[in-house]
Subunit: 185 residues, 2 copies
Amino acid sequence: MATSTRETIIQLGDDLLRKDGFNAFSYADISKPLGVKNAAVHYHFPSKQDLAETIAIWHVDVFDRFVQKTATKPPLDRLRTFLNFYHSIHLSGKVCIIGAFATDWNSLNPNVHEKVKAFTESVVNWLSVLVQEGRDMGHIHTKHNPRTTALRILTSIFAATQLARITGDDDFSLVKNSLLDELCS
Amino acid sequence: MATSTRETIIQLGDDLLRKDGFNAFSYADISKPLGVKNAAVHYHFPSKQDLAETIAIWHVDVFDRFVQKTATKPPLDRLRTFLNFYHSIHLSGKVCIIGAFATDWNSLNPNVHEKVKAFTESVVNWLSVLVQEGRDMGHIHTKHNPRTTALRILTSIFAATQLARITGDDDFSLVKNSLLDELCS
DNA sequence: TTGCAAACCTATTAGTAAATAAGTAGTTTC
DNA sequence: GAAACTACTTATTTACTAATAGGTTTGCAA
C-alpha cells in the first residue's frame, strides 16, 4: 500500500509535534523532506490547526487498532505492551502525544481540544478496564479505584518520556519497571 | 522591596513559558504588559535563550528557599507541601517547569539544558531524601528504592498538571490524593 | 474530445520574530 | 564637573511564518 502525500504529512507532522512542539515547526519542515512546495501542504491541511486536529484523530485510529489487536491478551500482557510502546516513543526521541498537546494546549483551537480530549479519555478508559479486569483476575493489585490507577500509570509513563530527556534513559526504565513491579506484586 | 524590571521580565517569562510554551511567546508579550519597548527586554536578556537560562536558574533559587523553609518539617508534611505547591501550579493554569522545558527541549541550547538538568536533579534528590527519611521513620511505605519512588512522585504530579488541562480538575486531585494515600498507608 | 477534479506549483502578501545599532536621559563615581 | 555607567528608546534589519490567489499538469469519466 503506497503511502499518500496526505498520510506522510500527518506522520511528519506528528513526528515534529512530538519532537519539537507545535510552535517549533513550520510547514517548510514538512514540505522540504517531502519534496513538495509549501502550498501543497496547505492544499491538504489549509491551516496548521487542521493538521493538529487530523493528527489527534490519527492517534485515535492508531490506538483503536492497538486496542483491537491486543484485545485477547491478558491484562498484564496488555499493560506490558502499552509500556513497551512508550519505551519506543522515548527511544525515538519523542514524547507522548498527550503531553505534547497538553503543553501546547493554549496554542490549539477548540476543534483540536475536542479531539485530544476524546483520544485521552479513550486511553484512560482502556487502562481503567485493564486494571479492573486485572484485579478481578487477581493479576493486578492496587488499593485505588481503576480510574485512579489508570491515571497513575498514564501520568507516570508519559511524564517519564519527558523527564528522561533531562535526566537520562535510566530514569525512564526505573519508572517503567517500578510500575510493573508494583501492580504485579 | 521594589521589583526590578529584570525580575519582572523573569516572572513574566516564566508565566508565559509554563502557560504557552517557549516558542509560543515573544519579547512583545513581555514588553507590552511591562510598559517598555522590545529592546529593553533584549537589554536585560540579549537572546531568548539567555532568558530561558535565567528562568531555570531562578527556579533553582526558588526551590532552594523552599527546601530551607521546610527543612525542619517531618517528611510527610514536606511531601504534602510539595504536592500543594503543584496544586497551585495547576490552578493558575500553568504546568510544571520541568515538563515545560522537557517538551521544548530541542528548542533550547546546551547552557539552558545544563541549568534545567541541575534543577531537576536537585528536585529528584530532595524527594529521594524525603522518601528515605520518611521510610526510616516509618511514615512512608514503598517497596521501591528512594530515587525510584521520588521519580514516581515527580512524574505523577507534574504530568497531572498537564493531563488535567485535557481531562479536568478532578483528575488532578485523584492523582494527588492517591499519592498521599499510597505512601502513607 | 471534452470536461473536470485532484494534486500539485508559482508567486505573493501581510504579519511577526529575534536581534542589533545608535542615541538619550538620569545617575553614580572619581 | 567630567567620565562612565545604567536603563532605557527609536529605528531598522533580516528572516521566517501561515496563508492565499491563481495557474499548471495529470488522469479519469462521460
